[in-house]
Amino acid sequence: MSALTTQERLLQVIVAPQITEKATRVADKHQQIAFKVRTDATKPEIKAAVELVFKVEVDAVTVVNVGGKIKRAGRNFGRRKDWKKAYVSLKPGQEINFAAGE
């Protein structure tokens, strides 16, 4: 692993909250919250990072690798970066309020 200390690494794991229709639906249905995370992040890392940043207790993490879309402008093809999405389930009674963090 890199020379970064564990804590610095954890702070870089979460890239952004994923706020979409699908994410809000999942949040309502399964009490899960979606994040964009670094592609090289592991489940335990994500769990630790979320607990560190949002001061909540995480129950479980599932991840999915999202392939970057192929975009073309005329003759030129471009590929967007692949990224990793993490669905984080919180322990019952826990909540993350994005508004306060923004």
Binding site: Q18, I19, T20, E21, A23, T24, A99
Partner: protein
């Protein structure tokens, strides 16, 4: 809604208004609900954004809108309730929202319309200029017309007053040359006063081709200043002397002035009529000036600052436009509001008095009067019907004639209540100085 009014000074009022928050919050929620149906955010299809997110994104903005609406509405209500007439715009100060429990409060400071009391006008004397246009006045006008169309023909005799001459001149002060005419020389008519009188009188009495050297001493207060107090010697060569020849007052002359059938009598009538019209106009202007002055002198009121400031703004604007039209570079001109203070004060006063009078006495011009005014405007155009149509095509265009007609009504009203003395005036006195 609750409002309390304090009187700060004669015209200034401070109003504290409190509005319950409950209906406002409902209004905010309602608006957000309405917005949620159309709002767009990345990650969501339009209209599918959850309410919470919409509130988070737009809540503050919507609340501000609702608040300022509420402030405006409640202010107007309060004004109506307390039967105030607000002059200008209120200055609104919000009390911090958190402090108030279930209510928002704000303080509005504003000025009210002053009480206008027009004093008894019956002691006011107004002079109505009276002028009968006589034969002599018509003749004088015709003479002027004739002279304007005079033709000149060369003569051998010495120049005299009324002649048109062409001269070449060299002017010098203390034998240093200050002015020299070019090859075309200088055209002037002796005795028309285009030049300094002493200079012109020296020009009489010389024949074509002759040469004259003379000196003219200019007085200290002469304008332009370069010549003031100086003695200038002139060396003048007379290139031509021409005598004025007035056209005959006949059919040809009439035709040249646009009377097509060359009827001299008809032309005389037309001139008389237009003189009468002109005199009438001047008389009315005089009466208006006097009436307005009388109103200003006999009314007591305090003018709201807001009005004076607005008036100052208007005057500055007008002055700037005026300067711009004359091609003055505005960046060099600094118009201080103080320069217009007095004028603005007067205008604002007059405006208030007039509007009060109009309201109190029902002097608003009616449609017939406006129509009559438009007809007067149109008269001086070639196709009056078109002009009238133009005025009536847009209601805004009628503002000016309506305002004028109303002013006339006011003048009438003043004349009715004031003492009006007829005063005979001479034609030249009336026409000269306006």
């Amino acid at each position: 809604m609750q409002a309390t009014v304090e009187t700060i000074s004669n015209l200034e009022r401070r109003m504290t208004v409190s509005v319950p928050v409950q209906p406002l919050e409902e209004e905010v929620a309602q608006r957000i609900n309405r917005m949620a149906r159309t709002v767009k955010l990345p990650g969501f299809r339009p209209g599918k954004v959850p309410l919470g997110l919409v509130r988070q994104q737009y809540g503050a903005q919507v609340r501000n809108e609702v608040l300022s609406d509420a402030v405006e509405r409640s202010f107007n209500d309060a004004v109506e309730q307390n039967k105030l007439r607000v002059a200008g715009y209120p200055n609104i100060e919000h009390k911090p929202y958190a402090e108030s429990d279930g209510k928002i409060e704000y303080i509005a400071t504003f000025e009210v319309f002053p009480e206008v009391s027009v004093a008894d006008l019956s002691k006011v004397k107004i002079e109505r200029p009276v002028l009968e246009i006589g034969e002599a006045d018509v003749k004088k006008t015709i003479d002027v017309l004739l002279r304007q169309r005079a033709t000149f023909e060369p003569v051998k005799r010495a120049s005299k007053k009324g002649d048109k001459i062409n001269i070449s001149l060299i002017a010098s002060i203390d034998s240093a040359e200050v002015e020299r005419t070019d090859a075309n020389g200088l055209d002037l008519v002796i005795g028309e006063g285009g030049r300094f009188p002493a200079f012109e009188s020296e020009l009489a009495g010389s024949k074509v081709g002759s040469n004259k050297v003379f000196e003219v001493a200019y007085p200290e207060d002469h304008k332009p200043e370069q010549l003031a107090g100086k003695t200038v010697s002139y060396d003048v060569t007379f290139n031509s002397v021409e005598q004025a020849k007035l056209p005959e007052f006949d059919a040809d002359f009439a035709r040249s002035l646009g009377v097509e059938d060359g009827d001299v009598e008809k032309m005389r009538e037309e001139i008389t009529a237009s003189l009468k019209q002109e005199v009438d106009k001047r008389v009315r202007t005089k009466l208006k000036e006097q009436s307005f002055q009388a109103l200003l002198d006999n009314s007591t009121l305090e003018v709201p600052k807001a009005f004076v400031n607005a008036e100052i703004g208007r005057l500055i604007q007008a002055t700037e436009n005026n300067l711009k039209q004359r091609g003055v570079d505005l960046s060099n001109v600094n118009l201080e509001p103080a320069m217009f203070e007095e004028q603005a004060q007067r205008n604002a006063r007059l405006r208030l008095i007039l509007s009060e009078l109009v309201n109190a006495n029902g002097l608003q011009a009616n449609a017939d009067q406006v129509r009559a005014m438009v007809d007067v405007f149109a008269q001086s155009f070639e196709r009056p019907a078109d002009v009238v149509a133009w005025y009536y095509a847009d209601v805004k265009r009628l503002d000016e004639p309506a305002a004028l007609a109303t002013e006339e009504n006011i003048v009438e009203w003043v004349l009715k209540s004031a003492k009006v003395a007829d005063k005979k005036v001479k034609f030249d006195d009336l026409m000269g100085n306006v």
